[in-house]
Structure formats: structure tokens, C-alpha cells
């Protein structure tokens, strides 16, 4: 076997297995995104705390997480944490690592979104005696949301494309499964090409989805009832 000979029979044979693995990839991305958004928001709000120490500590946590490779964090959570009595499945570890890592990136996006809300809005909220919680929930975050959508979307797509790193802790995501198929059949062309195409397809769909969300999102923000 040399050169380029695409085997359609083989392609159709392995496609279901790879699609099955795609579910794991999508699951890790979805759960990771949810966690990243929660973590990012928490970091962003802590960075605005009235207490210097909280701001300081949060700043360094975010810097630390952003400045160390995702793979190191994944390895640390998977291989080192059990020594402290915390063992997690590959999927849970992956979700946690992705959530934390991208949460650190997203916290910067959220922070600038919150900073972009006019000072007068904060003042009006204060003059009306709203609590800090209600000010964020009803006034600031609804208005900060729209400008955050494109950057958040980009990070989620970036996260999706980094899920193969989770193969390093034996998570059976798309790339890992493709590699196994390849080594079992001595054919790598079809499985890897399929994986690449699926990544491209999902990314394009996601990018379009984000674009739609942004376009249809009210300019002024949304109101909770």
C-alpha cells in the first residue's frame, strides 16, 4: 500500500465507531464549556472584589492556569491527584481540566464585558439601593452579555479542538479511537481524515451558531422577568 488509495468500504465500516467517539468529544466540550463559563464568571467577579487579598489571589490563580500547558494540568489532575486521594474518570478529569483552563481565559473576556457597562448604570443601581447581587444579575450582566458572545464562542471552539489532548489520559475521544482503529487495521488515512473532517464540520456549525446567537441577541441586553 503506497500513495493515495482511499477505501470507501473501510471508511463506512469505521464511521459508526468514530461517530460514537465524537459523542465523547462533544460531551467533554459541552460539559467543559458549562464549567468554563461558571469558573470564568466566578474568577471575573472575584477579580472585582472589594478585598485586595481576594483580587490578588484570583489574579495569580488565573495567571498560573493560563500560563501552564493544558496537558500538564490534565496530567496533574489525572496522575497526581489520586496521590491525594482524589481519583476521577478520564472524562471527569478532562471536563475539569478544560473547564478550569478555559475558565481562566473566559474570566478575562467576562471582565472586559463587565467593565464595558457604563458607570452610570452602576450609579443608578446604587441610587436605587439595589444589592450587589441584584445589580450584577439584573443590571450589569444582562448588558455585558452580548459583547462577550463572540470571544466566548471562539474559546469554546478552541476548547473543542483541544479535546484530543485528553487522549493522553486514555479518554476514548475521536482522535484516540481513530488511532486505535488505525493500528488495528494498519490503515490510518481514512480514520484520521474522518476525524479531521468531523472537527471541521463541528467547528463550522458551531461558529455559525455563535454568529446567529450574536446577531439575534438584543443590542441592549436581555431582561430577566
Amino acid at each position: 500500500m503506497n500513495g493515495f488509495d482511499w477505501d470507501w468500504q473501510f471508511t463506512l465500516e469505521v464511521l459508526p465507531t468514530i461517530l460514537e467517539a465524537a459523542k465523547v468529544t462533544l460531551m467533554a466540550t459541552l460539559l467543559g464549556s458549562c464549567l468554563a463559563i461558571i469558573v470564568g464568571l466566578a474568577f471575573a467577579l472575584l477579580r472585582r472584589s472589594g478585598f485586595f487579598l481576594i483580587r490578588f489571589i484570583t489574579y495569580w490563580i488565573v495567571e498560573f492556569v493560563r500560563s501552564t500547558p493544558l496537558l500538564v494540568q490534565i496530567f496533574f489532575l489525572y496522575y497526581v491527584m489520586p496521590e491525594f486521594g482524589v481519583s476521577m474518570s478520564p472524562l471527569l478529569t478532562g471536563v475539569l481540566a478544560l473547564g478550569l483552563h478555559y475558565g481562566a481565559y473566559l474570566s478575562e473576556v467576562f471582565r472586559s464585558g463587565i467593565d464595558g457597562v457604563e458607570k452610570g448604570q452602576w450609579e443608578a443601581a446604587r441610587a436605587l439601593n439595589l444589592s450587589i447581587f441584584d445589580t450584577y444579575k439584573d443590571i450589569v450582566l444582562p448588558q455585558a452579555l452580548r459583547p462577550m458572545i463572540p470571544a466566548t464562542g471562539n474559546y469554546i471552539i478552541a476548547m473543542f479542538k483541544e479535546t484530543p489532548q485528553l487522549s493522553a489520559i486514555t479518554l476514548l475521544e475521536m482522535l484516540q479511537v481513530a488511532k486505535i482503529i488505525g493500528s488495528e487495521n494498519f490503515r490510518y488515512l481514512e480514520p484520521f481524515t474522518l476525524v479531521g473532517m468531523l472537527y471541521l464540520l463541528f467547528s463550522l456549525v458551531a461558529a455559525y451558531g455563535i454568529h446567529c446567537v450574536e446577531r439575534h441577541f438584543p443590542k441592549e441586553g436581555i431582561t430577566l422577568k
Partner: protein, 257 residues
């Protein structure tokens, strides 16, 4: 003798190295309508912003309704106010802003019901009843479901007034509420304030550049310059026979425009 409702005692206020107030004293009686006039940068708005707890003070004290605003009484004397104390004190005050600061993502009605619902824990029905009443008062009943960006400046400001009134403050602070409006829209907003002044026994503190309005509505007019009250008195006296040279110069410059 009754205690003044608002009292500034030797207040000191700085922005970095810039001194705004130094040993500043000022008081307002309950039910009094006081206009503050003067050149920009003289600390007029800062006075209102200190009262609304949007700006802190560096020295002295402010009393509202006999209680320190920026401090809390403890058995060991006064300590800087905590959140809870400021929250309590803010109930006395309401503010209308120069640039309206309406919540753009909320309907007119929702702008007004937000604080009664969240702060006073009123039900939606109760809060909307308050909003309906206030919208009628400011002549905006038919715009209840519109959004701020669909309104003219004058309409926005009338909503701003209704929003501040929804919390039933004893003191209403009006910070240059017509300065950002096109001239033809000024009167509809001032009419609302005229009405309020007639029908209700508010204490009002207004910073304004509308001299005729200040003259017509106020019990007292204060001329501010460089963080101090240069002259104060009844509107007739201030506008027809100002004693201080600086007041005369300011009013002359204004009237000749």
C-alpha cells in the same frame, strides 16, 4: 428647633490632589426646595453625589435625618459606615441623573418596578401599581411598554424621575436633569418637577443651569463657586439683588447669553 434634614459638617472632599470641599458646611430643612447654581467644576454635583453615597468624603461628616450618612454610631464613637448602614441610609434619598441612566434592556415599566421588587420585596402586582401611578404622574402612561431607546430625551428623563420616586424617598436629588436635553424638551421635564413641588412635600435639592426655573421653584438658592457657598438666600434676592460680586458676575454672564 427642629434638626435639619440634611447637614454637612466641615466636610472635606478631594479627588486625588484636587480639593473639592474643605471645611464645607451646608444644611437643608425638611420640605425645603434648594437650588444650587454656579459655574461647572464648583462641586455642585459632587454635593449631590456625596449624599447619594456615590462619592465618599475624606473628612467631616454628613447627617441625613439626624443620622450620620458616611459613619455609623457605635458605643465607641463613629466608625466608617458599612454596607448595611449605607443601604439603610439610601432609603431616604432618590436621585435623577443628567444622563438619565435608565436601564436600556428594560421596558419603561420594568425600569420603575425593578427597585420596589428587588429592594422592598414588593410583588410584581404591587410594584406595577406603583409604576402605573407614577407613569400617570409624569404623563408617560402610554409609553409603559416601550424601551428607553425608543423615547425622546425628555421622555427618558420623566421615566428617570418616576423611577426615583418609586422608592418613595424623602429627599429627591436632581442633578442637572435638563442639561442633556434639547431646549424644546426642557419644559416637559420641568413641568413634572413643578407638579411634584406643588402636590408633594418633598425635600428637593437641585443642581441646575435653568435660572428661571430655580427662581420660580426654590425656597432658597445657593450660589456655589470653588467648593464653597459664596452666597445664599431667597430666589428673589439672589436673582434681583445679589450681594456678592462673584454672584453678580456669574448671573450677568448667564443672563447675557
Amino acid at each position: 428647633m427642629s434638626q435639619p434634614l440634611i447637614e454637612f459638617q466641615s466636610v472635606e472632599k478631594r479627588f486625588g490632589d484636587t480639593v473639592i470641599f474643605k471645611d464645607f458646611n451646608f444644611s437643608v430643612e425638611e420640605g425645603e426646595i434648594v437650588s444650587i447654581i454656579g459655574p461647572s467644576g464648583s462641586g455642585k454635583s459632587t454635593l449631590l453625589r456625596i449624599l447619594m453615597t456615590l462619592e465618599g468624603i475624606e473628612g467631616g461628616g454628613v447627617n441625613v435625618a439626624g443620622e450620620p450618612l458616611w459613619h455609623k454610631r457605635t458605643p465607641n464613637g463613629l466608625v466608617p459606615a458599612d454596607k448595611k448602614h449605607l443601604h439603610k441610609m439610601r432609603h431616604h434619598l432618590g436621585m435623577v441623573f443628567q444622563h438619565f441612566n435608565l436601564f436600556p434592556h428594560m421596558s419603561v415599566k420594568r425600569n420603575i418596578t425593578e427597585a420596589p421588587m428587588r429592594v422592598q420585596g414588593k410583588s410584581k402586582v404591587e410594584a406595577e401599581a406603583i409604576a402605573d401611578e407614577l407613569l400617570e404622574l409624569v404623563g408617560m402612561t402610554d409609553k409603559a411598554d416601550m424601551y428607553p431607546n425608543e423615547l425622546s430625551g425628555g421622555q427618558k428623563q420623566r421615566v428617570g424621575i418616576a423611577r426615583a420616586l418609586a422608592m418613595k424617598p424623602a429627599i429627591l436629588l436632581l442633578d442637572e436633569i435638563t442639561s442633556a436635553l434639547d431646549p424644546e424638551l426642557v419644559d416637559e421635564v420641568l413641568d413634572v418637577i413643578r407638579n411634584l413641588a406643588k402636590k408633594h412635600s418633598f425635600t428637593m435639592l437641585l443642581v441646575t443651569h435653568e435660572m428661571y426655573f430655580a427662581r420660580e421653584i426654590s425656597d432658597r438658592v445657593c450660589f456655589f463657586d470653588q467648593g464653597a457657598i459664596v452666597e445664599e438666600g431667597e430666589p428673589e434676592q439672589i436673582f434681583t439683588a445679589p450681594k456678592e460680586e462673584r454672584t453678580q458676575a456669574f448671573l450677568n454672564a448667564y443672563m447675557s447669553q
